[in-house]
């Protein structure tokens, strides 16, 4: 008999550090014990699940043609690419046998939240996504250096408008407030002077290519957070990331999204991030005793719910009959990859648990079950189907309420799957 606390901890490991179990995976991991399961989930190794996945081309679109017919085709292609880049990424999340890197990339996308609603073109977003994946478990200093020279991010925050003779504060402010230090750890003067340090970078919007123009860069000394020198984007990023507040801020952000949005992390957590290495920090979080304590529940965001459902149902998002349906449902629920509502990223927990989102989720779940595989349920006798659903989906334990609902559907396994995917214990990772 497995301890309930093991089922809880494993449920958190597979849903928060992975992206939900594939069929059979939860019981298999449970049998091996938590230490082995944790090691597998946090492992980084070549991923056979991704072997078959072909990355679609995202060619540079160049300038829009003026001819009306050609222009319509051009903008249709731009739109189609914006959907297909998101479907491509969700395919990766779903197909990965070791989804930890994709899970971390997803976190960093919400952290450096950049939206295609302004960037417009898929290619710069794809380049940024590759950058975030490269550094997802690397060193934050390197990640930040790469991001301050990332075309999509610079364009998103008006960096190409930020020139020495007339600075634009958008990138300088959000860099300190949302990406590196947190609000309250800098002054308005620091924002202004940091903006000067970030001047001089031009972006080609369609390709995301970044060039540095020394004539547009402020070559005077500026004073940021007590240090006065001539900065460029890299030296400025290095200086700000070296501040002790950066360690606390990033540690809290990870804790917030992986463990709890309402209970503070232990004060010691940021110590493992002293060198700005992300891997020891996230590993420390995954090993924290909070992982076994009941009060640290978290709601799944719509994309997290969708990806975990696809993994369970062995559905490849881009192979569903309609990518348009998927993007419409996820948009209606409030979350689509590459399209965060603002530079602050997506909301969390209770914000997703609305009546409005519920109706779209029920319909999307129905669509997924229709197009997916539920042999995890059809292969067991009716008397064991409700428990099999918990094991299949990696749910620690159904409540009595949910068992009562699921028990009404044991003669219709597709119905049972639909209900299980909408059960409170699946929407919220206990």
């Amino acid at each position: 008999m497995t301890a309930a606390s093991d089922r809880l901890e494993l449920s958190r490991l597979v849903h928060r550090f992975g992206l939900g179990p594939k069929p059979g995976e939860y019981l298999q991991l449970l049998a091996g014990g938590i230490p082995q399961a944790r090691a597998k989930i946090l492992a980084r190794r070549s991923d056979p699940g991704l072997n078959a996945l072909v990355t679609p081309p995202f060619p540079t679109m160049g300038q829009a043609p003026s001819d009306p017919t050609a222009s319509a085709a051009y903008w249709k292609e731009v739109y189609d690419q914006s959907v297909s880049v998101a479907m491509w990424w969700m395919d990766r999340m779903v197909l990965a046998d070791y989804p930890f890197v994709e899970r971390m990339t997803w976190f960093w996308h919400g952290h450096w939240a950049t939206s295609i609603s302004k960037v417009t073109y898929a290619l710069p977003m794809k380049i940024q996504n590759d950058t975030l994946r490269t550094h997802a478990l690397g060193n934050f200093k390197d990640m930040s250096r790469a991001m301050v020279r990332d075309g999509a991010l610079i364009f998103w925050l008006d960096g190409e408008e930020n020139v020495a003779y007339s600075p634009n504060e958008n990138l300088g402010r959000e860099f300190m407030e949302l990406f590196t230090l947190g609000v309250g750890n800098y002054s308005q003067s620091d924002v202004h002077q940091a903006a000067l340090g970030f001047t001089g970078y031009n972006v080609d919007q369609t390709s995301g290519a970044v060039t540095f123009d020394p004539k547009l860069h402020d070559n005077d000394k500026v004073s940021v957070l007590g240090k006065r020198q001539v900065f460029d984007a890299v030296t400025l990023s290095d200086w700000i990331v070296s501040r002790p507040e950066n360690a606390t801020f990033i540690a809290r952000r990870l804790w917030f999204r992986f463990i709890s949005s309402s209970i503070e992390p232990p004060a010691s957590l940021s110590k493992v991030f002293e060198n700005r290495d992300i891997s020891p920090l996230i590993n420390s979080i995954a090993r924290n005793p909070a992982m076994r304590r009941p009060q640290y529940s978290q709601a799944k965001s719509p994309v997290e719910w969708f990806v975990s459902a696809c993994r369970a149902l062995r559905v490849t998002p881009s192979k569903l009959p309609s990518s348009g349906a998927v993007s419409w449902y996820l948009d209606s629920m409030g979350q689509f990859p590459f399209n965060p509502p603002s530079v602050g990223g997506w909301p969390y927990d209770e914000a997703w648990l609305t009546a409005a989102a519920t109706q779209y989720r029920i319909n999307l779940a129905y669509y997924l079950v229709q197009n997916g595989h539920i042999d995890a349920l059809t292969s067991v006798p009716k008397s064991k189907m409700v428990q099999a659903a918990a094991d299949w989906l990696g749910v620690a334990q159904w409540s009595v309420r949910t068992e009562r609902s699921l028990n009404q559907a044991v003669s219709d396994s597709a119905r049972l799957a639909l209900l299980a995917l909408n059960a409170p214990e699946y929407l919220v990772n206990a």
């Binding site: 007339s166 308005q188 603002s342 914000a351 409005a356 519920t358 309420r401 609902s405």
Partner: protein, 398 residues
């Protein structure tokens, strides 16, 4: 910016609200809604949030002020591009609807509105406006605390959209969200089984109780709202107008709702501001004027008050990209038949700046107190943490 972008950790904690929701059966609420329609003459507040920081100076324009023109050489509006309201202030020329409300004495413009020591972060400043608490960081929205003061009712405050608007989240109660397209629920045995998932359980954590509650709310809201919304789907073209169409339909159907929340994003105009902001404030003016005109033809004409705010105004001086960076105070609009039209507060000086930005003339809590006391009949002192002053924006019912 968009709804729910907050970095305040505790903002969305509304313990227990959904647990209570789940104990109301679909029949209970449907019956309550049809048996207790909102009585005629009950004031209704419609809150319009402009996300991103609307540029107050290009909305209510000091069009003759030399400092306005010199600070914004390529992005000021000249006399031909504005609608003068006084010898110093004018509306952005796209806001013809608001100009007509002004002429009819139904538009109050509260100048220089913000709070002490304005915060230039979108997220912090919007959290301050939505929590109604500039000094102390608190975890609930000001309308959420209004809901806290009353018995639980999923209809009392409704936001249009899918994700919860933080201003509707109280400590114990929470407003409901309804998408523009309305709510549709399955029927038959699936409905029965889904409703079983909404039953509260003593095993539930707070979040799991909220998840169960959201399933239950879908059924309770849908049973009342679906007929209302299906009869008149939104016909307007712009996002704000569509949201207000939904609100107008609910109001005219006597849905027992006292507060509606709608929003428009896109006001963070760091670059190429003129082309974007003119369009956006024009949409705000058109949508609200059309909405008031629509309810103005009904028996609820005198019941509706609209309040429009953004998290901050913008810097006086343009930046290099013909845009403006984050600023401080800006006008708040309050519109409706019962509104005492005119200017409140005064236009802050464009030359005598406070730390490089416009001074704060009116504290937004003076506006909120008026909405709470004179529209919602609530106790503003309590909801706004002992705030004791208010503007007289609403004409008392004679």
């Amino acid at each position: 910016m968009s709804p729910c972008d907050f970095n305040r950790r505790q903002f969305l904690k509304y313990t227990g609200a959904a647990t209570i929701a789940a104990t109301l059966s679909m029949q209970d609420v449907a019956q309550a809604a049809s048996v207790t329609p909102l009585p005629l003459g009950t004031p209704i507040l419609v809150i319009v949030t402009l996300y991103g920081g609307n540029d107050g100076l290009n909305t209510v324009v000091p069009y003759l002020d030399p400092a306005y023109l010199s600070n914004r050489p390529d992005m000021s509006l000249d006399a031909s591009e504005v609608i003068p309201l006084s010898d110093s202030l004018a509306l952005n020329g796209t806001m013809t609807g608001f100009a007509s409300l002004w002429t009819a004495n139904k538009l109050a413009i509260v100048l220089g509105t913000s709070y002490p020591n304005p915060n230039l972060s979108h997220f912090s400043s919007m959290a301050i406006w939505q929590s109604g608490s500039p000094i102390e960081e608190i975890s609930s929205g000001w309308i959420g605390r209004y809901l806290d003061s009353l018995p639980r009712d999923p209809f009392r405050a409704i936001g249009v959209g899918s994700t919860l608007t933080p201003l509707l989240a109280g400590d114990h109660r929470v407003g409901s969200m309804v998408p523009i397209s309305g709510l549709q629920v399955p029927n038959g045995s699936l409905a029965t089984q889904l409703e079983l998932l909404a039953v509260s359980s003593t095993q539930d954590s707070e979040l799991i109780a909220d998840a169960a509650g959201s399933v239950g709310d879908l059924f309770s809201l849908s049973s009342t709202l679906t007929p209302v919304l299906q009869n008149a789907p939104p016909t307007s073209a712009t996002p704000l107008a569509q949201q207000l169409d939904v609100v107008a339909n609910m109001i005219t159907a006597n849905v027992p709702t006292r507060v509606y929340s709608v929003s428009l994003s896109g006001f963070d105009t760091h670059a190429d501001e003129l082309s974007q902001q003119n369009v956006l404030v024009g949409q705000v003016s058109d949508a609200i004027t059309a909405f008031l005109t629509q309810v103005g033809t009904t028996a609820r004409a005198n019941d509706v008050v609209v309040m429009v705010y953004s998290e901050f105004g913008r810097r006086v001086e343009a930046n290099g990209g013909e845009g403006t960076d984050h600023g401080t105070s800006a006008p708040v609009f309050v519109a409706g038949n019962r509104v005492a039209g005119g200017f409140y507060g005064e236009q802050p000086s464009l030359t005598n700046l406070v730390q490089g930005d416009l001074a704060v003339v009116v504290d937004f809590r003076d506006v909120y107190a008026s909405m709470l006391e004179d529209v919602l009949g609530a106790d503003a002192d309590k909801i706004l943490n002992n705030w004791s002053t208010k503007l007289d924006l609403i004409t008392p019912v004679s």
